[in-house]
Symmetry: C2
Subunit: 81 residues, 2 copies
Amino acid sequence: MPIASPKHALDPALLALGIAIKALRKTHGISQEELAHRSHIDRSYMSSIERGMQNPGVMTVVQIAAGLGVSVAELAAKARL
Amino acid sequence: MPIASPKHALDPALLALGIAIKALRKTHGISQEELAHRSHIDRSYMSSIERGMQNPGVMTVVQIAAGLGVSVAELAAKARL
């Protein structure tokens, strides 16, 4: 189980990002496991990101957006960031 | 001097983000020092981000976008991410 970001876990921006990732994932009918695979990241880390517990780096966000088939800008707009 | 991200330094996405931050900063006539101050991050770290040497976390990107007075979505779109 990945350790939550001690400094930023559950920050509103990270919660919003996680909710947006989950919503887009569901819209596309992709399981969390499949999205983690497409994004080349660990499933439990993906789960932790979706729950707003992580402060992922830009590269991870780029990979997740690619896994969802959207741009980072679209993902950020969905999260209202 | 901040240590460059060993894994991701100079990745095209990070270079594009750095270029976009610098371009928006110049458009707004803000010095790097002023943007670092507004974004609550260290000036040398800001410089390193603008040169694509860092893989900043989402929270840092949120702070920089706020410092520039744009949304993360606008910043990501500017960087074509």
